[in-house]
Amino acid sequence: MKPNNLNRIDKKFRELKNKREKALICYVVAGYPDIKTSEKIIDTLIESGADMIEIGIPFSDPIADGKTIQEALHSSLTLGITPQQCLELSERIRVKHPEIPLLIMTYSNILFRRGYDNFSRDAKKKGIDGFILPDVSIEESLEYVNAAKKNEMSTIFLVSPNTSELRLKMIIEHCSGFLYAVSVFGITGERQKFHKYTFAFIRKVRKLTKGKIPIAAGFGISQPEHVKNMIDAGADAVIVGSAIIRKIQETKTKKTSLALLSNYILDLKLACRENKKRS
């Protein structure tokens, strides 16, 4: 494939590889604390060094999410934020930032309700590059993957520490963009530290993917130290979600909040660059 045919996600990973950097992927809840502010937050994240953005479309029953994200999703729903408004927000981001990969993270029913094909087509038009649906197992993914492919959407699947090698191989087949390695047993939310099994799992995934698809580690990551650990174990990217939401929650009322968030992202991104020395 020629480089100019690459989608934005592949292009981003290639570009980072050349710079010997790892990717920082940031998750935001669209419409939290409100639509306008979430747009400013995304701008801030991008300007501070985020390499990709996951835009969370609120769903009423987010079973894979912990308290922090649950509350943000609930708050957004309470404001009456619709998937359409989230797509429109994505479009505004796309206009301002033509090259940044934008992903939709939500639950399957949001896509299913509009129709996988319809939703994929609409997302494509708004400049979205792919989907992350934590409640779609590969067994249930055929219709979704076909519709997404048809509309040039990447389908990012999650794997977890207890996923068997056999399943891992199957999932890699259906997965495009990157593979989302869920670092812990549990739901989203910050962890103080990670256990050995997390790093052993990342190493195992690394071995099995054989460089065919980038690996992004997510769930629980909040500190530059975590970022370094994940990268050392073999991750090509780290995903930070709850920690960003909590920063927004804590500083919701203060004007300085975006500046604080910016500093936080700069620190995380720095940790993604430092591996240059090590590798």
Binding site: P58, P62, H74, I110, R113, S137, E139, L158, R167
Partner: protein, 395 residues
């Protein structure tokens, strides 16, 4: 019709496994274990022993002669699940699943509960088998069903109050799923109805089918034939599937599932998922749901907490589309009326859930003639609801 479902985890297009990857190994382990134990003579014998000596099976099929006379029409028989230990049909499933959990070597049990009946059922079964039990219950339900919360605690269960989302049954399921994701290796999730990812809808159906098997045998003994119709209430739909399943291939038996019509279908405040809902994905399954235009799950309403659920078992969705079961709503007022009638004429105070089936059963009986036999599954007893009905009458 020849009926052999689920097929590869699906009832037609319904059911499936829409769950996070972390749960897949657990669900595969469960399926494998269930396949083995459901055919194991020792397991089956131990289960039927507990159902008989501990839970009180078989439950009677009672000819409700006063109610039959009052209504005037078909003979009405009541399948007395209200007499089962624990006060409802839930015990059939909790004994089955807790025994399975024990055989699988799981020490920790979690469950969700709405009205508290499944919570009580899980807590008592956990006591019997020496398992640690934790129950998730929405804070609104904890408030509404204080007595059952106390019962669960007496039975040794830890009750977690769920304050997320709408703070009712669906959120309790969400929280139980989250717990399971975090503690997947050592925990067994006892789901309370024929809902959730495959194989749960099948497992719960199989454990509840003892109701229908007994109805079949007792019908032949009592009136020398199969019933003309069977009526059962549907929330998630476990007592209904349990009653219907052994009759699905008997086309001469009409099957009626009664959903909660709440304040009336037109009011929009109800839980009549199959009657008014649309297809979507929730709690690991593709099924009919109460959802809005963009796919957000709606808050439901019913005077009976046990029917207050925005989804329904995927097998019911399939049986609706196949037109094998007819689904009808019964609103709060009608249910309360039936609650009072059954109490007065037969000396049986039914659960409000079951009163929905009684109400529709009476309507149906009236249209039939005395040689017809209707079986209404009385899924539970109504002690838990006396206060709610009292408040409603005073209002």
């Amino acid at each position: 019709m020849i009926y052999n479902f689920p097929e590869k985890g699906k009832f037609g297009k319904f059911g499936g496994r829409f769950i996070p990857e972390t749960l897949i190994p657990a669900i595969e382990e469960l399926e494998k274990s269930y396949t083995i134990y459901s055919k194991d003579p020792d397991f089956k014998q131990e289960l039927s022993g507990y159902l008989r000596d501990y839970a009180g099976r078989p439950t009677p099929l009672y000819f409700a002669h006063n109610l039959t006379k009052y209504v005037g029409g078909a003979k009405i028989h009541l399948k007395r699940e209200d007499l089962l230990h624990g006060g409802a049909h839930k015990t059939n499933n909790t004994i089955g699943q807790c025994l399975l959990a024990k055989r699988m070597g799981k020490k920790r049990i979690i469950a969700e509960t709405g009205a508290g009946q499944h919570g009580v059922g899980t807590a008592l079964a956990s006591s019997v088998f020496g398992l640690n039990c934790e129950i998730y219950m929405g804070s609104k339900d904890v408030e509404r069903q204080k007595l059952n919360v106390f019962r669960m605690r007496l039975l040794g269960a830890k009750v977690h109050t769920v304050t997320s989302g709408s703070q009712t049954l669906k959120d309790a399921i969400n929280e139980a799923l989250r717990d399971w994701i975090a503690n997947v290796k050592k925990t067994y999730y006892v789901i309370g109805s024929v809902v959730g990812p495959h194989p749960y809808p099948m497992i719960v159906r199989d454990f509840q089918s003892v109701i229908g098997r007994e109805i079949k045998q007792q019908s032949i003994e009592k009136f020398n034939g199969l019933p003309t119709a069977i009526v059962a209430c549907v929330g998630g739909g476990s007592n209904a599937i349990g009653s219907f399943y052994p009759f699905i291939e008997d086309n001469e038996v009409s099957l009626y599932g009664i959903e909660a019509g709440g304040s009336g279908i037109r009011s929009g405040k109800h839980s009549a998922t199959l009657v008014t809902g649309s297809i979507g994905i929730l709690h690991g399954m593709l099924t009919y749901l109460m959802q809005d235009k963009v796919g957000q799950i709606m808050e439901t309403h019913s005077i009976s907490a046990g029917l207050d659920y925005p989804g329904v078992g995927p097998e019911h969705s399939f049986l609706k589309e196949k037109k094998r079961v007819i689904y009808k709503p019964c609103n709060d007022e009608e249910a309360i009326k039936a609650f009072k009638i059954l109490s007065k004429y037969e000396g049986i105070i039914p659960a409000l859930e079951s009163a929905h089936a009684v109400s529709y059963g009476m309507k149906l009986a009236k249209k039939m003639n005395p040689k017809d036999n209707i079986v209404i599954t009385l899924s539970g007893r109504g002690d838990k609801d006396v206060e709610i009905v009292q408040r409603h009458i005073v209002k």
